[in-house]
Chain length 242, copies 2
Amino acid sequence: MLVIGNEILSGRTRDANAYFLAGRLTELGIRLREVRVVPDVEATIIAAVNALRATYDYVFTSGGIGPTHDDITADCIAKAFGVGIDVQPEARRRLEAHYEAGMLNEARLRMARIPDGATLIDNPVSTAPGFRIGNVHVMAGVPAIFQAMVASLAPGLTGGAPLLSRTVIAQVPEGTVAADLGSLQQQYPDVDMGSYPAFRGGKASTAIVLRSTDRARLDAATEAMYAIFRRFGGEPTENEIV
Amino acid sequence: MLVIGNEILSGRTRDANAYFLAGRLTELGIRLREVRVVPDVEATIIAAVNALRATYDYVFTSGGIGPTHDDITADCIAKAFGVGIDVQPEARRRLEAHYEAGMLNEARLRMARIPDGATLIDNPVSTAPGFRIGNVHVMAGVPAIFQAMVASLAPGLTGGAPLLSRTVIAQVPEGTVAADLGSLQQQYPDVDMGSYPAFRGGKASTAIVLRSTDRARLDAATEAMYAIFRRFGGEPTENEIV
């Protein structure tokens, strides 16, 4: 995923789209492998789009497709693909239907500029569409619009077997279970195990996230993790996040 | 900045460290230019560290320096720099002072493994240190620890002139002011102007963020932006975020 916008890098805005997309892709059986946040700088955006689209099956971008001078994403995508860009008739028609007479000024019409060969992504919130070109999906930065665009393109994405997940938590410090957890990981190379420490009310606790596409193996590894926590005096609980 | 961790990419955890660092760096007069989020995969981490440290003055990482098998950041950094890594005496001494007798097991001692030539970054929360090697600052992923580490290294960073910022907001759609805003940007190339639309209670509003190191130019451009909003019937207010 590529997040485009100075406001994220300056600390003015906390990005919400990467977190949303990460959760949705996991549900769809697609693994998000990298997120980059870059500023509104043409050369940087073009280089990042080309690096990501060459590396991954799908690329998703957010930000920079509005009507103002700092909205340069669509032009950057066209340059990254080496294609032309102009007002696209269908995108223009949608904007004309949306805006009252006289309101579709030149600036707003910029939102109908779509790279040649791209297909539109619906925007049920504020009409101005995103677009898909090659494996790159270009969407708005405003979270409500980004989420609606993801919803409209999700049925067209091809996911793998969903990654199943269980999260076991106990009031045992992670350094205490680290050696046994490492051995467990070696026994279950097909179950990905992550360890996340937390400190609440002065007490150390550890959340172990186990992930696999195989439910039987996942359940067996989870039972073994319960036993490890109990060996160190912790009473594990389970949290069904994700 | 490089955020390391499967939990962010799976959507289990919403990253908080990039947002925190972005705000702190802006205060210090340092511009954050890129954030990458990568999984706990050695080759990916090494490639990202080497790309970022060659491109930027400073690199900051978060995540992957705990005691468990999935904490591979320190080893990846050593490989990225082509140096050795071993238990460092001062880091070991700190951990020995922190843990009760018998609690400093082999797994926890991994947290004292520091690449050759690195200097330690203090961790007032849970002792296990971060480290700096070359222009790369390696810190913990737990937000409270990450923030404490940033506080301890901030005095040693060299910032430029602080970027001053004003944010003008009005209930005018951004497409309405886009053309005048574009002209204003051309008149003030030394003032960076970003436009951020919002939709609240069915009404469209626009926040214009103006940034410059020159207060007089910033104030003049801000006054001009007030005038533009008023011309379209909006009563601007100002928000002192960042």
